[in-house]
Symmetry: D2
Amino acid sequence: MISSDLWQANQDLSIACLEHPFVEGIAQGTLPRGCFVFYVGQDAFFLRAFARAYSIASAKAPDWEGFNLFHDLTNGVLEELQLHQNYAQIWEIDLQTTQPGVATRRYTEFLLATAWSRDIGAIAAAMTPCMRLYAFLGQKLAEPEIPNHQYSDWIKTYSSDDFEQLAQQLEDLSNRYIVDEPQAHSLYRYAMLCEHEFFQSAWEQEPVTSHPYGFGSCSLMETTKTALPHQSPVTS
Amino acid sequence: MISSDLWQANQDLSIACLEHPFVEGIAQGTLPRGCFVFYVGQDAFFLRAFARAYSIASAKAPDWEGFNLFHDLTNGVLEELQLHQNYAQIWEIDLQTTQPGVATRRYTEFLLATAWSRDIGAIAAAMTPCMRLYAFLGQKLAEPEIPNHQYSDWIKTYSSDDFEQLAQQLEDLSNRYIVDEPQAHSLYRYAMLCEHEFFQSAWEQEPVTSHPYGFGSCSLMETTKTALPHQSPVTS
Amino acid sequence: MISSDLWQANQDLSIACLEHPFVEGIAQGTLPRGCFVFYVGQDAFFLRAFARAYSIASAKAPDWEGFNLFHDLTNGVLEELQLHQNYAQIWEIDLQTTQPGVATRRYTEFLLATAWSRDIGAIAAAMTPCMRLYAFLGQKLAEPEIPNHQYSDWIKTYSSDDFEQLAQQLEDLSNRYIVDEPQAHSLYRYAMLCEHEFFQSAWEQEPVTSHPYGFGSCSLMETTKTALPHQSPVTS
Amino acid sequence: MISSDLWQANQDLSIACLEHPFVEGIAQGTLPRGCFVFYVGQDAFFLRAFARAYSIASAKAPDWEGFNLFHDLTNGVLEELQLHQNYAQIWEIDLQTTQPGVATRRYTEFLLATAWSRDIGAIAAAMTPCMRLYAFLGQKLAEPEIPNHQYSDWIKTYSSDDFEQLAQQLEDLSNRYIVDEPQAHSLYRYAMLCEHEFFQSAWEQEPVTSHPYGFGSCSLMETTKTALPHQSPVTS
């Protein structure tokens, strides 16, 4: 099965995510609140792009069953976003004004460029890491039982049977539609790297709001950190 | 004219690029050779994506003249790429095996996602910074005359009348097709930020080749630097 | 309001549809059963393409509310298709093996080419006729009351408040997103012509199944009538 | 080779085109001038869509060589269109105001919907019939030698080595990129049917200009013949 091969080939990154201090902080309930608030905002932005990518995939499905399966997955994202809305209320996050950070935007542009330009198998390959990795993390963090702390809900969501089912549904679609395996491996790994960087950026809390430039409505971000630095070359 | 408004609104970034040590290094001929070699490889990768974005724009042109103008611009990129081929020979760079760095990939995914998903005016807005900025830099560095050093050819290319004409042609297309001005401002600025970061990444020579992971054919990169670090949160 | 202008400008065609013998046959319950069976099969094929076009539109929506509104409209089509499934059972139609006729395929290719290549306002303009025309026909045929005959359910569906609401939702999206009005008029009228021809083809029951050629799975059709005739030129 | 299989599987239609009175009229120089004038106008419209489809294919090419090959083919279409410009001058046809007929529009929407939504192999499959069929017809009509009459230039163009080379280049791309063979067969056959109908519509000279409706700029047409007829059902 190509879906297992892809997951196996990226064990280094799934382990790196599991051991990442952001994820460990969720596991133990010790993650600084600011990191989680930042993450929820970024993840809401990400999931809106993810829903768009699913919609494109459904429109490209060669058969009607494929359309419906991808359409169901879109509905799954809309439910997941409803959860974020709940978090946002509890944690007092304004999801409407959240600006995407560098890692977020890089990941979403990758997914959307892939969705628009490639075939349905390639899209499935690029989207699976997000689902399978979160199912993996949720299930690991729920062992031996879901801990009782401020991040319990996150662990409950991603360790649930419902979420595992969505991940399997997308893997089934990968198995059905992937024809170019080397390309699938490349897209899958890139998405895994984006996942890892996503945790890292939340851990660092890339400052996205205090940039010196004004932006338009659909906008676009930049961090003060990366915008205008003149650093020395690493080697010269 | 929306094209002038867009350029004026981003003077801070065009000046920041002009004063960037990478560009100053080209101006004075003192840029470390390794930085330039890195840059040429990344730019070749970038231009291939740029040509694809032009092709998509031509296919979306509502009128036949628009198709032809974008098609001509694609031909312009192919000529520019021929120059890179020449550099590559002189500087012994293998363009075929060059892997994109983070800044390169982020910029190209943004351009391609925009080209596939948005209308022709939005595409023109996102693509203009690359052309207008380089014409600006070329012309500034050619004052009062083109210096005589290892980077003369670069300055000659981008200060040429031919290149100015291509930049104007794209700005004409922006003026003709942009209907959503706030969106255009947002896309234009994001591209300007990507341009600045592109110089910065060449200055730093992001290590793209020594990563610990194997990649597939169309692949995809990651730097050793950003792949698996566990840094402390910036604030906690 | 552009949505009313579009509808008003095509009164000739909405009247022509209302007075078309196919629609009059539905109104009076006298439509030959074979015509209706043909029509239901073609309409099911059409609606699957319509759902794909909505999915593409949702992916292109510049704002998240637009995504959700188009996504809801997709769900509306899926419900409408469920009705067809019911018809199919009652009327013993095998929707899985139905091949599209010329008029159907022409209309669906137009909608999909428009959805993939144009902006969201243009897509809304091309899709509205199907919704507004059916709401108009349903409401006209339900005056002064829904007749009691074999086609009552069809009239009930399209005269319902639910359907009127979906039509209005799409018109609201037209009003929100159309920027190029001449283009919108052109696309809207073409779709109206396709609607008229759709009724005509069902009235004529274009023979789609007895063609002399075999087709592949996602296939494609041709009528015996138009496939290989050598007619005299109309004028010479 | 899939490209030969596709051609072989559609011998019935290539023969039907060769024996079509329109093509025989070109062979013998007896085709009514009005038919040819109509055809040249429709073909110019068609080729502009064909060039757009090639541009989309080039943007989707997974490798850079593929981009360049499709880009070259686009250039080939632009040259072919230049020939039409010459015809137009000689035959006094105004290509700018030509409106597409039903058969033309149906074919172009099919090609564009395919180009936007499917992978590069599928696009190549849908586009090849136009190239291979014309090379076949040109070569057949040039046997034993190119006749000397008003349609010699047409025969010269399509029997030339240059055109054969373009057809082979597209078939090479089909062989390289087609992965879903049943889908390729279906798309190829549909395009062949569209080709046949294109000759038929020129033979009949579908009246496209005298329709009773005004159209917008990018417009869209309908024939007086098919617009508003109320015919009896074929069977009832």
